[in-house]
Every structure is written in C-alpha cells, then in structure tokens.
C-alpha cells in the first residue's frame, strides 16, 4: 500500500469517524432531549387529566346536589314518606333529572336501597342497591369512579351521591357522567400525543373497552399485555408499542391506573407519545450526516490527494533519487522545497549523495591507483620471472667468454635457447595482457549451454586423469531439455573454460567437479562447483577484481574475463563458498537478448568499468 493511499485512508477514516461521532452525539442528545420533553409532556397531560377529572367530579357533585335540592325531588321524598306511597309514579323522574341537569346517569334510591327510578337502566327499578345505603356520609363525599351497569353493557362513570331527607324519609340521589371518549376529547393534547382510556369493567382484557377521543382504538389488542400488567400490579407503567416494522410507528405509553372507591381498578389512563418525530429527526440527522460524509469524502479525496501529493511528492522524488543512487548515479540531487522535515530530508539526501559521489570518486581513484599498482606489481612479477633467467643467461654468456670455444658454444647454445624461451614467455605474458585489454564484443547466435559446457570440460579431461596427479571426478547435472539461448559461443566457451580451470586449480589434491544447468524461466542457470578448500568472504568479495588472484602463478584475469563475458551477455555471476567445502560459481544468462544487444559490434556500447562489473558480480 502506497504512502499516498495510507494518507488518503487515514484522512478518509478520520473524516468518517468525525462525522459518525458527531451524528451519534447529536442523535443521542436529541433522543435524550426528546425523552425528557416526552416525560414533561406526559406529566403535564397527566396533571391536566387529573385537573379535568377533579373539575368534572366537582361539577357532578354540584349537579347531583342540584337534583337533590330541586323542588320536584323534595316533593317526591314527601310523597314517598306517606304510607302506601306509589313509587311507580317516579319511574321517569330520573330520566327527566338527567336531561335537565346534563348528567348521563341519574338514579333515585329509596331509603331501603330499592331503586325507584333510573335514567340509564329503568328496567332495574325495584331492585336493591345496598352499597348506597351502607354509607352515611355521602353528603361529604366527593365524586368517585364507578362501574355503571347498563342494559347494553357496562360503563365507567364519574359518580356522586347525595341524600335528601324529609322527616324520617331519606332518598339517595346518584348522579354521574360517563367517562369515555367525550371526556378524552376535552383534553388538549400536544402534537404527537394521544390519550386513551381503558374501562376495566370486564373480567378479562377487552379491546373494545379501549377508546380514544374518536372511539374504539384500532389494534387495541396490542395493549393486552400492558393492561394485564396493570391489572396484576396497579401502578404507573410505561411501555413502548410498535405498530409495524417502521420504528417511526412506535409509541411510548404511560399507563396510570384509575381506581374506584374501594381501591378496585376500574380504568387505565394511557398517555401515548409517538416516536415519529424523534425517529424522523434522527433519520434527518443521519441523512444530513450521510450527505456531509459524502461531501467530506469527496472533499477529502481532493484534499487528501492534494495533501498526499504535497507530502509524498518529495518522498517519491527522494525514493526515485535513492533508486538512482542504487543504480549507480551517485551524484543524484533532488529539489529542496521549504524547510520542513521533508525539506530537511531532501537536503540531507543531497548531502548524502554528494558525500557518496565524492567518496565514490575517491574510491574509484583509489581503486584505479590500486589497480595500477596491482597491474604494475603483476607486470613486474610476470616480467621479472622471464627477466631473471634472461639476466642469468646473459651473465652466463659473459662469463662463458672466458671459457673455451666448445664450452662457450655449448653455453651459448643453451643461453640462446633460454633467451628465446624466456623472450617467448615474455611475449606470451604481454599477449595475455593485450588480449584482456581487447575483449571482443559478443556476437550472439543460438547456443546450447549444455554443449558449450561439455566442450569446455572436454579440453581438460586428460588432466582429470593425468598420471601422477590426484584424480578429479566430474559430475553432470544438466537439464537436457534446456533451450538454446542467444549467446556468443566462443566467449561463453572461454568463460566456462576459465571457470573449469579455476576449479582445477582449486583442487590440487583432487576432488569432484560438479556441473549443473537448469531452466529458470527467462534465464538459464549454470553452476560450476568444486570441492576445493574454498574461499574466505574477503576473497569472495575481491574475486572478480582484475589481476587479483589467490594463486602463485595466476594473472588474476581469468575470473575477470568470466565476469566480463557474463556482463556482456546481460547476465550475472555470483560465487558462494565455504572454507573447507569448496566453491560454487553461479551464472545466470538470459535466454533472449534485447534487440539493442543483437546489433553489430560497432554499435555496441563501451564495456562497463571494471569496478562496476566487480560490484555486479559481488552482489
């Protein structure tokens, strides 16, 4: 993952996290605010209900008192106090009183509890109402909730009882108003709230008994569990009811039990608060957050692209420069912009490459001097060997003048032969150096690596089994299906020959020479291993340096030539060695040369400096 991607992702995640955090915070606090507001509204509505309940109760009490004190009631009590009074005369009086006083329920009850007249249930006249005669303090009792029997069912009533007495005769006047949807309609409900009333008048839950200001509530059965909970434990309870899968349909209901005179549960007031506004607001917040997030992502993309570009461009330049340095252009410089960390880094990089270039130049010069010294030493060494016999021979010839002619002739003949041999030797040495300086440009053609390797080995086979020498065994691990590669067969042969010769020199006590070839995709790998004494790491690092040798008689050009050939074939050579366990040279050659490489020699670029080849070979 690139630095730019990382910067972009970090920026993006930061933006999203910020927006999410803000959205969550706003939603959370909004919900809390709504809940608090709901609680306040519910409480206010409950207070309003209680106030309305009390006012209506006082009104009922007043109306019942008015009926009790009406002249017609006094006359009725007076008439009924007479012996053999006909109570049937007053059958419809309760109905008249109810209509004239605006009450839903009015009943006149005789002193013995017998119902004289009933507005709501006239068919019950003649039956006893013992509960009303059980109390003596009706005139000081306020209105209360009562279960009212009706011909077509039961109803919830806000009832008051008053008495009227003439002489010894007392009549009970029971009046009430129905507590139903009309009562709920008097409540001023805040938006999103509704008030329901459940008349707990049946033995089990009855959805029909649940009403709001418009009548029976649809889906009333959803309240069954809440009502049953109140029936078991008559105390304030809150429950949320979801009407469908949409969370906006949910309503939180606060249930308050309504009790009668004896504490029996007669009704339940349900104040519902819709979650619609909250959910819609939350959705709006989330929608805005989503839009903001999208905008932030878009802006973030632009900004992060700009920022990351601003941040990573110097870094990329630095990386490119580092890559250039790695590829050898040690004098690479980058632009220094600003004085920030990146600028300081660029400045430091420039200083570093400057130092590296200087050191490289210094090193090159040092190596060049060392190479010249080595060359001089080697030349001196190589040339001293034939010169010393020449000097001895010449001194012998000078001394031989004092000898007899025959002896002189013998000495002379021997001396000239020696001189000729040594001069030839000198010529060979010079020629070898000359050859190295004139390494030919490869001429590529289709070459079988295995065959070339076998040809190189074949030249040395007599030495493997030479008498008086420790035997050397060869082992072949050649991949016979290896394809032909594009290479210069002569140079390749020469390279292999030098490797084999190097291996033979490494095994003066005999050993095993292993040859291995393999197909590695676009390249062909060749390994030449010996079981000699091996090399030290320091020797390994300098092995391909020209004129460096670990042998007494070597010129130090063999492996340099190998490295030069491999490099001219755009391949690589490496060495691995372990002291006491032998050395392995590994050459990797491309199967196909580039078009540029296949051009004629004249167009070929100059060969790499020796030092660079050594660096490549030592990698």
């Amino acid at each position: 993952m690139t630095f730019r991607t990382k910067v972009f992702l970090i920026f993006l995640i930061t933006v999203l996290a910020s927006v999410s955090l803000v959205a969550y915070g706003v939603t959370h606090y909004t919900q809390r605010a709504f809940e608090q507001m709901d609680a306040q509204r519910t409480q206010a509505l409950e207070v309003q209900f209680k106030k309305e309940f009390e006012q209506r109760g006082e009104m009922v009490v007043q109306q019942v008192e008015n009926i009790a004190n009406a002249e017609v009631t006094l006359r009725m009590v007076l008439d009924l106090s007479r012996p053999n009074a006909d109570a049937s005369l007053y059958l419809h009086d309760a109905n008249g009183a109810a209509q004239s006083h605006g009450l839903d329920f009015v009943e006149f009850v005789n002193s013995d509890g017998t119902l004289i007249s009933s507005a709501q249930y006239p068919a019950r006249v003649g039956y006893k109402n013992d509960w009303v005669t059980a109390s003596k303090s009706w005139d000081s009792t306020g209105a209360f909730l009562k279960r009212e029997e009706l011909p077509d069912g039961v109803a919830l009533s806000l009832t008051a009882v008053r008495t009227q007495t003439v002489g010894d005769k007392t009549i009970y006047i029971i009046g009430g108003r129905r507590l139903d949807k009309n009562f709920l309609a008097t409540l001023e409900l805040p938006p999103g709230m509704r008030a329901l009333l459940y008349s707990n008048l049946d033995s089990s839950f009855n959805a029909i008994s649940l009403t709001d200001a418009n009548g029976p509530v649809s889906q009333g059965e959803s309240f069954e569990s809440l009502i049953e909970q109140i029936q078991k434990h008559p105390q304030d309870t809150t429950k949320t009811i979801s009407w469908n899968n949409d969370p906006a349909s949910a309503e939180a209901f606060h249930a308050t039990p309504l009790k009668g005179r004896s504490g029996e549960l007669l009704g339940v007031l349900l104040l519902g608060s819709s979650a619609r506004e909250l959910v819609l607001l939350q959705r709006e917040i989330l929608k805005i957050a989503a839009v903001v997030a999208l905008a932030a992502i878009f802006i973030g993309l632009l900004v992060s692209w700009w920022v990351s570009r601003r941040i990573t461009r110097p870094v990329e330049e630095l990386a490119d420069a580092a890559r250039d340095v790695a590829s050898g252009r040690w004098d690479t410089k980058i632009d220094v912009r600003g004085g920030d960390e990146i600028g300081q880094l660029a400045h430091a990089f420039n200083e570093m490459t400057g130092t590296l270039a200087a050191q490289k130049e210094k090193l090159v010069q040092t190596e060049r001097v060392a190479a010249w010294r080595e060359l001089a030493r080697r030349l001196a060494h190589e040339l001293r060997n034939p010169l010393f016999p020449l000097q001895i021979t010449v001194e012998n010839l000078q001394r031989a003048r004092q000898l007899g002619p025959q002896q002189f002739q013998e000495v002379f003949s021997e001396a000239t032969a020696t001189l000729k041999a040594e001069l030839s030797n000198l010529n060979t040495i010079v020629g070898r150096f000359s050859d190295f300086s004139k390494m030919p440009t490869p001429e590529f053609s289709k070459v079988s690596v295995n065959e070339t390797l076998r040809d190189a080995i074949r030249l040395f086979e007599p030495q493997f089994t030479a008498v008086g020498k420790p035997p050397i065994t060869t082992e072949y691990f050649l991949n016979e299906s290896l394809p032909e590669i594009e290479a210069d067969p002569d140079l390749l042969h020469k390279a292999f020959q030098n490797l084999v010769l190097n291996a033979l020199d490494a095994m003066p006590a005999g050993g095993t020479l292993s040859l291995r070839s393999s197909d590695a995709g676009e390249i062909v790998r060749v390994e030449v291993s010996d079981t000699g004494k091996g090399l030290t790491p320091e020797e390994c690092s300098r092995l391909f340096t020209p004129y460096y040798t670990t042998k007494q008689q070597g010129t130090g050009l063999g492996l340099a030539i190998v490295q030069s050939v491999v490099s001219d074939h755009h391949g690589t050579i490496s060495v691995s060695s372990e002291e006491g366990h032998g050395t392995t040279f590994r050459i990797e050659l491309p199967k196909r040369q580039s078009d540029a490489a296949l051009k004629p020699k004249k167009d070929a670029p100059p060969t790499e400096p020796l030092s660079e080849r050594a660096a490549t070979a030592s990698d």
């Binding site: 049937s88 005369l89 006239p122 068919a123 019950r124 039956y127 011909p151 077509d152």
Partner: protein, 511 residues
Amino acid sequence: MRSIKSVLRAAISAALALVAAAALQAAPPRFGGTLRVKLRSSRISLDPREWTPGSLNSSDSRKIASLVYDRLVTLNDYGQFQPALATEWTHDATFKTWHFKLRAGVHFSDGSALTPALAAAALQSTSGKNFEIAATEAGLTIHSLQPAPDILEQLASGNDFIFRAQLDGKLLGTGPFLVAEAVPEAPAEANPLATKPARIKLLANENCWAGRPFVDVVEVTLGEPALRQLLDLQVNRAEIAEITPDLVRKGREEGLRIWNSAPLVLVALRFDDALAAPASDSLHEALWLAIDRDTMANVLLQRQAQLAAALLPQWLTGYAFLFESPMNLPRAKELRASFPAGVAGAEQALRLHVDAPGDLFKLMGERVAVNARQANLLVQVAGVGSANNTAAPSDGLHLFAWHYDSLSPRTELETLLRQMPDGSDLGANAADPEQLFAQERRLLEEHRILPLVVLPEYVGLRANVHNWNGSPWGDWRLADVWLEAEDTSSGKAAGSTQKENMPARTPGANQ
C-alpha cells in the same frame, strides 16, 4: 227561613246549571271540519291483502281502511251483529255454508255499483283458502270446509273488507271517506337528512250509502313519535292521537281526554331456539318463573297494562282468568342449576330480540333480562325490530307484540300460532270454547310462548271531538265523530262546511 231560601236559591242555580249543561251536551252534531289524526306507524297500507296478521302497523292500517271500506256485517257494543253491506244472512245446520244478501244501491267512491261478484272477489282475496266464496244473484255464498259458526265474528273484524281493485292497482271502497291524497315519506326541505312524515288525506264520501260523515276531511299524519303526539294534542295540532301506556298517566294529569280500548296488544316472549328437550323446557320454564310481570305492568307500564297469563284476552275468550303466571324465583334458580353445560342462557347469553318497535318494548325486554339475571340466566337484549310480527330469522328469544285482530277467538289463536316459527295448528273443532281452552293450555304449558302483559289502546282526544264511540276491540268509528267549531265568537266554524240538509249519519243505518 233565610237558610231555606239560600238552599232553595242554590238548588235552583244548580238545576239551571244542569239544564244549561244538558242543553250544551245535547247540541246537534255539526258537519264539517278537518279531523287531524296522528299515528305512530310510519307507513300504512290501505290494501287489506298486504296486512300482516297481528302486527301493530296493520292495526293502524285497518283503522284508516275502515274509513274507506265497509264490511258485510259489523258488531255493536252490545255484541249484536249489525247489517252493513249485507242485509241478511243465513246458514245451514252445519255452519259450513252461509248465504249473504248484499245491500242494493251501494256504489263505490267512483260511482260504480257494488256487485256480488266484486264483493266475492274482495272477500276471497282476504280470507284465503279456508272459504270458497261465490257470488249469487242477490248476494254471495261462503262455503267452509270446517264448520264456521264464528264466521260473522270473522267478517266483522280482521281484513275482510269489501273493495274493488282498479286497473292501476288502487282500491276503491264504499265507506264514508275516500282517499284524496296519499303523500309518502319525503326528505324535509329544511333538513334533507330528516324525513317529512307520510300523510293521508281522506275526504267525506258525499254519496255514502250510510250517510255522509260529519267531518269533511280526515288528515292522517304518520310516523309521529309518542311524546310528539301528546304535545300535538296539547297545542291543538291534532284532534286524535295515539297515547302510549307510559304517557297515559302524564296525559291525564295534564287534563287530556284519553280513551282506552279493551286489552288489544299482547306482549309476549317467544323461543325460536333449536335446543333439545329437556334442556329447552327447563330454560323456558325457568324464564317463565323468573319474570316479574307485576313490576312490568304496574311500574314500567304505569298500571296501564294487565298481567297476561293467557294468549287470548279475557274479553275475547272469557276463560283467560283460569290461567296463572306465578313468579317463583327459587324454583327458577333450581331449574337453572340443573342446566347441562353449553345451554344458552347459562354460560353464554341468550339473545333477546325485541321485535316490537318503540322504547317501551325495549324497556320491557331489558326488564326481562334483569329478571332473568336474578335467576342466574344470562339474557342479552340484542336489538329492536320492526312493527311487523313476522318471525325473525335469528334464533333465540323474541319479545313481540301481537295485536288481536279478529273477534273470533279460534281465528285469533289460529292466526297467532300460524305466525310462530314452528307453525303450530289448532286442529279441527277448536271452535268449542272448552277445546280452545285445552289447546291454549297445552301451548302455554310448553312454555314456547310466554305471555307477559296485555295492553289496551289509548287514544287522546281533543275537547272539540264529539261523539267518539270507539269500540272495545279497537274500531275508531270516525265517521260518527263531529267537531265542535273552534271560533265561536265569529259564529262561524273554522274550516267547516255546514250541511244543513244532510241527514245525520246513523251507524248501522241500512235503509
């Protein structure tokens, strides 16, 4: 001496007052005026063939129809049959064949003559298959498959009017009035949601064979609620109005003239369940014993009804007093306790359908439910039905009102049973009072019909209505009624047309 003079003076004053009052009472009948009649029924039919036996609606229809059509015979207040369109009648020894001689010179309101064929056709259409009616030269012959000694009672009551059907379907009669206008119910102009009551306007038949009626016009307004009718009487918007029993006491307290008939409406319960005996028997009997008829009659109906233990009233049969309707709540509870599981009225409420119209019948239904609850019987009032007594399709308990239409006990009981869902039949020879009594007792002991109360008809009359002569069985005889002039100061009867030379209508006059 002085006191003797004072006494003498007072006696003379009293005598003069009595003479003046008598003179006033004996004032001659006055022709003219519009008689405004208010009825509760919202729709009536003047076609006897459409009437439903026993229904309150048909009873009102019959009252108005009797102004337009005549019968062959009538019954006077002394129980004597009077000639009407038939002047003579004879029968054979078996009472199966009756011969009636038709009155001559009688014409329908369009002037066409009444013929034996038309009379036979009209009677055949209303009497059904019980009789074969044939026209003769001077009258008609009625042949019954069973002995019909009570055929005169039948002809003097019920649907047996003589009429002629015109081509357009309208019926013409020979009665004292003819139909001038029949306005059906229509939306009110002021409030389209409300309906103007239907009206029927009848004009005096100047050429009636029995003489011209006293009033010129009878204007009948239908669909008037009971309390509204009472108010109409009080504020001079009606001369005659029906009064419900619960308003009778109030009307009398307020000084209204209220006439009542003999008990004409039976209020009873009917079981239409399909329960198998003995469960149904126990339920029927338990309910029978649980009902407090006394409170129903004396409190709910304000002492304007009589307890009913029989299906037919005492005035019609003479033996109704032999039946009893005891209330026995402990026994009812015992019976209830013996109910097997699943019986309606025990675990699940027995639905009580109130088939009669009006709040009064609904109240009675509710009282039945309250009484039943005292015996641990669950009865729930399901709804209030129409005025027609056709058996409601729903099972359960029905509270219905039955108007006695016939003067023949056998016919009445037979008709009543025929209207019941199981369609019971009295069988032959039920004309014998003892057999009729036995049949009725058997029916009552089955407890499929539980009589509750019988109600008279109450009619409120304005003070200017004279010569009201309603029959105990509910005939209003409006042709005999005359109206006193309203505006005496001007010496002119408002809206009246004095017919000095017209003969006074004499009911039953056949000459």
